[in-house]
């Protein structure tokens, strides 16, 4: 019985489901690079607003484009924006957070205040402001979301790193003559990696929702490149005449965000030492 309760390799259910959904999405996005049922940008006005059929599995949109093809390429665009926004956020946020924790005092203060500045506005609002100034488009959306992600990741990294810095073994390492950089790389970074990965996964989901919101408003990915948010925005005027138009991109966004969020939750449960040692999993 004691053996059963020891830390096990069993993975949380949410991790399974999340990973499966995310893998499906990534597979669809990768497949779209090689093949889509129709070219996603092909316009055929006379074949517009068709319901799902054998020819068009998810029907056609208001310009007669194949909805399935658009959703597949849309997945690629969403993932690309999410990955870029989180990647840039990691590249900027983690070093800043480590720096803040390592430097302490004024360095910490500067990073914290910069974060406050970013957090003063909700992410979508600051993204709208930024795209209003710089112009609409995928690149500017990535920049706006990366800025927000960097602030979040810097804060998370700093908090977690500070906790590690207070550990006795860090004191010991310092007493043995290790420099702050060495301590950061050898002791701090590996110990906070889990927390950062979990946070990054959640931010990935948030970035995809925000990208969809911005594209819905016409500020994000620009046509002809398909985007789930833009598809939803276009569908809005057809709510009375062709309500199915809103259903498929809506499902795509919901499944994608659900997958990533569950993946994040699962990873947290799996990686969190407290959860691991509780033995209830």
């Amino acid at each position: 019985m004691r053996m059963m309760l020891r830390p096990m390799k069993r993975l949380p259910l949410s991790l399974h489901l999340g990973a499966a959904l995310t893998a499906l999405l990534v597979a669809m996005a990768l497949l779209s690079l090689l093949w889509t049922p129709y070219p996603a940008e092909q316009v055929r006005v006379l074949a517009r607003l068709k319901p799902p059929s054998l020819e068009h599995w998810l029907g056609t949109d208001h310009f007669g484009r194949d909805v399935l093809s658009m959703i597949m390429v849309g997945a690629r665009n969403s993932l690309a924006v999410g990955a870029a926004a989180v990647g840039l956020g990691l590249a900027a946020g983690v070093p800043l957070g480590l720096l803040a924790a390592g430097l302490g005092r004024w360095g910490d203060e500067v990073v914290a205040r910069l974060g406050d500045l970013v957090f003063a506005f909700p992410a979508v609002l600051s993204a709208i402001l930024l795209t209003a100034v710089l112009g609409a488009g995928a690149v500017n959306v990535v920049l706006a979301l990366a800025l927000f992600n960097a602030a979040v990741l810097a804060r998370v990294t700093r908090g977690a790193a500070l906790a590690v810095w207070r550990r006795p073994y860090v004191g010991a390492a310092l007493a043995l003559g290790r420099g702050p950089l060495s301590v950061t790389l050898v002791h701090v970074l590996p110990n906070i990696a889990g927390i950062v990965v979990v946070q990054a996964t959640v931010l990935f989901a948030v970035a995809i929702v925000n990208e969809a919101a911005l594209s819905y408003l016409g500020l994000g990915i620009q046509p002809p490149s398909p985007s789930w948010g833009k598809m939803l925005g276009d569908a809005q005027t057809y709510l009375f005449t062709a309500p199915l138009q809103a259903v498929f991109p809506g499902i795509a966004i919901a499944l994608c965000v659900m997958g990533l969020t569950m993946l994040g939750d699962g990873l947290r449960d799996w990686l969190d030492p407290r959860h691991r040692s509780s033995g209830v999993l």
Partner: protein
């Protein structure tokens, strides 16, 4: 104490009386009207703003120019009951209605007209169509009912311009506050403005002309297309003008409670092209674009077929129109050949800037797809109105943009040296000068025809389609305009059957 039976009888009688009363009320036609509009006006002074929504609320209803345009596009008397033009086309004499009054009770006389015209042409004028007043040399007022306007040069469109909302007659006492509390001479006067929701006008009991049938008219502002459809179906609005959710029209057409009217506007919808910028300075490139655009598909895709193709900058319903839609038939192969001839065998990259209206956003997406077919890769850049006006219209910093030009008879914009098309043509300017000197209508029409031909030959812009005027209204409402010769929601003739 009445018995239970007596009480029942009393109640029954009361119910019958009430029912009869409401029957009587039903028999009376309604005297109120709610008109839905897409955009809310920024203010209500038509002499100080270009926004079409200002005129859609105030034109002919609240403010009157000297003369006005009616539903058929003809000029009819408004504040002036008659007018005459001298043979040299330089002197215009207007005689005002004898009992015209502003809504604040003051008389509307020649001094008010002089004030209005002098204000509109002053150096510090904020009139959106200042050019309309530029030919005026002097305004004299021999007596309270007579106005004599002398022009410095003949202007064939002067009367039409004086019938525009921009030339609405205002009083010196109230001109400064018209933006929020408009005071005009029309058959309706301002009641209130609930910001973000509606403007309410009520019948002017002191109006000296024919009284409108309606007592109260509300203009409600609903920008969201789905909400517009819902408001019509729920009966929250009785009519929606310039309705642009074209895909919902079949549904309203099939419903006997509604009537759908599709008419013309003055809105030439064009792919404005920066003629000064490479590669658009080469006429072969512009002609290639003309061949690349399939207008029929565009009209189907954007307007669900409710529009007319154009081949130049002139509306088909106007006298003087020449059909040039056949000059550049849809032919992608020819477009590619022309591009190759101009030195772009692999096409080129460009930017297509799109203002907010659905016709522009949707039309732009389709045009970009069509241009892509021949190798012109147009990056779409959606912008808000303010940014569009600033960068594109005033700044002339753009490649391509898609926009409807809604001013009536505005082909003369191609003669303006500083206009945002950056188009310069000696031929066109000479024709335009001659047009301004010509009073004879037949000759004017011929000149208009030649102007259209020059623009089509030069393929100055992509000439796409006329924006339709679509009105969805309750079936028993009469008197709203089918066509839209000027920007207006004239409700003075509206009535319930």
């Amino acid at each position: 104490m009445p018995t239970a039976k007596q009480r029942f009888t009393l109640a029954a009688v009361a119910v019958l009386v009430l029912a009869a009363a409401s029957q009587a009320a039903m028999a009376q036609p309604r005297t109120d009207l709610v008109v839905g509009m897409q955009l809310e006006p920024p203010h209500l002074d038509p002499t100080a703003g270009a926004a079409g929504a200002i005129k859609e609320v105030t034109y002919a209803n609240l403010f009157e120019p000297l003369l006005r345009v009616n539903a058929d596009g003809a000029l009819i008397p408004a504040l002036a009951e008659r007018w005459s033009v001298s043979d040299d086309g330089l002197t215009y004499r207007f005689t005002l209605r004898p009992n015209a009054k502003f809504h604040d009770g003051t008389t509307a006389d020649s001094a008010d007209v002089k004030f209005t015209l002098d204000r509109a042409r002053a150096a510090d004028s904020v009139n959106a169509q200042k050019a309309y007043f530029a030919p005026i040399a002097s305004v004299e007022t021999p007596d309270p009912r007579s106005v004599v306007v002398t022009l410095s040069r003949p202007d064939g469109l002067f009367l039409a311009h004086m019938a525009s909302g921009d030339a609405a007659i205002v009083a010196p006492e109230t001109a400064a506050t018209n933006k929020q509390k408009p005071v005009g001479t029309g058959p309706f006067k301002f009641d209130r403005w609930v910001a973000g929701d509606r403007v309410v006008l009520v019948r002017n009991p002191d109006y000296d002309g024919p009284k409108p049938a309606l007592e109260r008219v509300s203009f409600r502002f609903i920008s969201d297309p789905a909400a517009q459809v819902a408001a019509l179906k729920a009966g929250d609005v009785d009519a929606f003008t310039l309705f642009s959710t074209y895909e919902a029209l079949p549904e309203f057409r099939n419903d006997p409670a509604f009537k759908v009217m599709v008419g013309s506007t003055e809105g030439e919808t064009i792919l404005s092209t920066n003629n000064a910028r490479k590669p658009f300075d080469d006429v072969r490139v512009r002609r290639a674009m003309a061949h690349a655009i399939d207008r029929k598909t565009l009209i189907e895709g954007v307007l669900y077929g409710n529009g007319v193709a154009i081949g130049s900058h002139f509306p088909p319903h106007r006298e003087g129109y020449v059909d040039l839609t056949g000059m550049y038939p849809y032919d992608p192969a020819k477009a590619k050949a022309l591009l190759a001839e101009a030195g772009y065998p692999n096409g080129f990259d460009t930017t297509l800037r799109l203002p907010p209206p659905p016709y522009a956003r949707r039309g732009g997406e389709l045009v970009a797809a069509m241009l892509a077919e021949v190798g012109i890769r147009a990056k779409i850049e959606p912008v808000e109105w303010a940014a569009w006006l600033e960068k594109t219209f005033k700044g002339k910093d753009y490649d391509l943009t898609l926009i409807a030009h809604t001013e009536p008879l505005d082909i003369d914009i191609y003669a303006r040296p500083d206009y945002y098309f950056n188009y310069k043509s000696e031929r066109f300017n000479a024709l335009n000068d001659e047009l301004n000197r010509t009073q004879d209508q037949a000759k004017r029409n011929a000149l208009y025809g030649e102007e259209q031909r020059v623009l089509a030959e030069d393929a100055v812009n992509g000439f796409l389609f006329m924006l339709p005027s679509v009105t969805v209204q309750k079936a028993n409402l009469t008197g709203l305009w089918v066509n839209r010769p000027v920007q207006a929601n004239d409700v003075t003739g509206a009535a319930w059957r």
